[in-house]
Amino acid sequence: MNETAAPTAAHSALSAPRRGPAQGGKAVAWMRENLFSSWWSTAVTLALAYLLIRYAASFIDWAFVKAIWSVPTGANGLPDTTSCRDNPGGACWAVIAEKHRFILFGTYPYEEHWRPMLVCCLFVGLYIVSAMRRFWNWRIVPIWLVTLTLIGILMWGGVFGLSYVPQERWGGLPITLILATFGLAFAFPLAILVALGRRSRLPAIKAICVLYVELIRGVPLISLLFMASVMFPLFLPEGMNIDKLLRAQIAIILFAGAYLAEVVRGGLQALPKGQYEAADALGLSYWKKTLLVVLPQALRIVIPPLVNTFIGFFKDTSLVLIIGIFDLLTAGKTAFMEPHWQAFGVEVYVVLGIIYFIFCFAMSKYSAGLEAELNRHRRR
């Protein structure tokens, strides 16, 4: 490699104008530049390419070539998975075909599955609308209120001829979206207040906020969920029961609030002192200063850690499995517990992974775009 590299460099230095970069095509030039620029880089490229091809090939072999897509129904009316079990080298996608509705919607009444389906669409629509800057004004408030009310009506029913579905029958993707959306929607304003409070000059406010953040951050989410589901009900008066999902939701809001508060505080601290002083000099009140000058700039700075926390929390919602709520992950795990499906957990996990990836990747891509757009003035 070394012998060839040296003459090429000398050659191109001499006859640079005649050897355009287009020679051999853009791709080849790019590869030469990035993948094969030295013997070391070439070795790494080849080693990685070998591993990639090898494992990709065996994955494709498992997932597509040798895969079984459906199984016949056995004599007892249950699916007969013998063909899958005799085929250890290939995936058994029949488990997804059989169980996809359970994975997505859990124990929600089967004939009413269109309702949670519509709820998922409403959530996605809500995310898209909220992401459009055109709606970043007062209009977003009624949009959220109307959508969340619709979601509540669809999930619970009991009005407009919809049958009533108690909360413990909800499950799957809607639970994950509800926990994540409500969790972050409530935690975010709470976090801003706490972050502002932590920088307050009033000792009581500051102490409360510091205490809250440190207490919540000092324990794992799982212990908060246990508190909410195991200890909290014992403290309630006789005959009073707060919904299990609501208790978990409050625990998640409190937990997310503490983490987001520290992220927001980071943004507040990063803002130059001159901004605060300029706002004061203009005679703005505290709230005007905060809302018009401080927060817009502070939040813009912390978009990457905010989204980091958001993505983390979207996945943390799966911890509710320990208190018996059927979120997406729990429903997936339950789906392959029947004896004849027991061997096909990997297929279910692959599908769950894809669903989680779609949501997290969308968040990540959107935040990257938002960051670029909002920080355009900083690029020189």
Binding site: I205, F235, I323, Q342
Partner: protein, 353 residues
């Protein structure tokens, strides 16, 4: 606005935000811990119109939602039986999935009316935890699975064998106690995950695998050739499972207890979901007539309809039918759960009179 006022506003806003978001556990000590739920659970269920039953979050054969999201299983059928007795409707029951950690709190706090969740009846649970177990509907216990090719007939022949076991469970302790008590030398191979245990057993790293017999049967049923494996007849620990209610719910406990006995008695009398109608009309045995509510007032003594047992058997079948429907497919034999009239059977119902 005056500067301090401004701060005050900010302070109030923050405080309000916190107050709104924090559930107030501050008043907690004022309440008695483990608050006693409504005095009479039976009346509360009637007023509500549905039974709330705590079940496992997912255990094949006992409680597991099927592809349509409908709960099915042995424990689930016991919940449905109670709903039939109370409302003559197997669907008027809400299933609350409970994990091992939250099940007792869920019952203590009144979140569920009863637990039917493969829970072992132990001394401390029955006394200090404040529950009443209403019977044993499944005699489970720790056993061994070996390969048929090994030629082992009973557990005492496992002297010198390597045995796969999961750590941190009573299973491991039971195994050690049993080996010491019987002066048998065993080499336990402790592997964390169930799947890895099975893999090690299949690869021949251990001669036997040990866990509860119901678990062994479920594992055996999904082996590529179940007949290559034998579950030894010896059971080295007692795991009696049954439904439970809170202390103080005597009438509700009576109902659950006699539903189980009724199911067992029905099997003993040969009454099934198929022939219950015929038996109701023409069976001459006085006890059957009382059980099915044609004579006597047994139902009313329990506070339910006199046709309670007839309805349950029509909807779900007798004990044997419930067992076969749910636990048959995962490969469980009746074993100790056979009627007392069978050799080795323990299921016995007191007389209905």
């Amino acid at each position: 606005m005056h500067p301090t006022l401004r701060h005050l506003t900010a302070a109030t806003a923050v405080a309000l935000g916190l107050a709104a978001a924090t559930p107030a556990p501050a008043q907690a000590p004022a309440q008695a811990p483990a608050a006693a739920p409504p005095a009479n659970t039976l009346d509360a269920i009637r007023a509500r119109g549905t039974l709330i039953c705590g079940v496992n979050t997912g255990l094949a054969g006992f409680a597991l939602p099927d592809s349509q999201g409908v709960w099915r299983g042995f424990d689930v059928d016991y919940c449905r039986a109670v709903a039939i007795a109370l409302f003559n409707d197997a669907n008027r029951v809400r299933f609350v999935p409970t994990t091992a950690q939250v099940r007792f709190t869920a019952l203590q706090s009144g979140e569920v009316d009863m637990l039917s969740r493969n829970t072992t009846w132990t001394f401390s649970r029955d006394t200090s935890l404040g529950f009443d177990f209403t019977g044993i509907n499944f005699y489970d216990g720790q056993g061994f699975m070996v390969k048929r090719s090994l030629g082992v007939q009973n557990a005492r022949q496992l002297d010198g064998a390597t045995i796969c076991v999961q750590p941190g469970t009573t299973t491991e302790q039971n195994l050690a106690d049993w080996a010491r008590g019987n002066r048998i030398n065993i080499r336990p191979v402790v592997i964390e995950r169930l799947e890895d245990n099975i893999a090690a057993y299949n690869a021949g790293r251990c001669d036997a695998y040990t866990t509860d017999v119901s678990g062994l049967a479920a594992i055996r049923a999904v082996q590529s050739n179940p007949n290559d494996h034998v579950i030894l007849p010896d059971v080295i620990s007692k795991e009696p499972l049954g439904p439970l209610v809170r202390h103080g719910d005597q009438r509700f406990a009576d109902l659950l207890r006699w539903i189980h006995f009724g199911l067992v008695a029905a099997e003993e009398f040969g009454i099934t979901s198929q022939n219950v109608q015929q038996a109701l009309a023409s069976d001459p045995r006085p006890e059957v007539q009382r059980l099915l509510g044609r004579t006597g007032d047994l139902g009313r003594m329990l506070g339910v309809d006199n046709a309670w047992m007839a309805n349950i058997i029509r909807g779900l079948g007798n004990y044997g039918e419930i067992f076969e429907r749910n636990l048959g497919p995962i490969g469980l034999q009746r074993g100790r759960n056979a009627l007392w009239t069978q050799p080795g059977g323990l299921q016995y119902a007191p007389p209905f009179r």
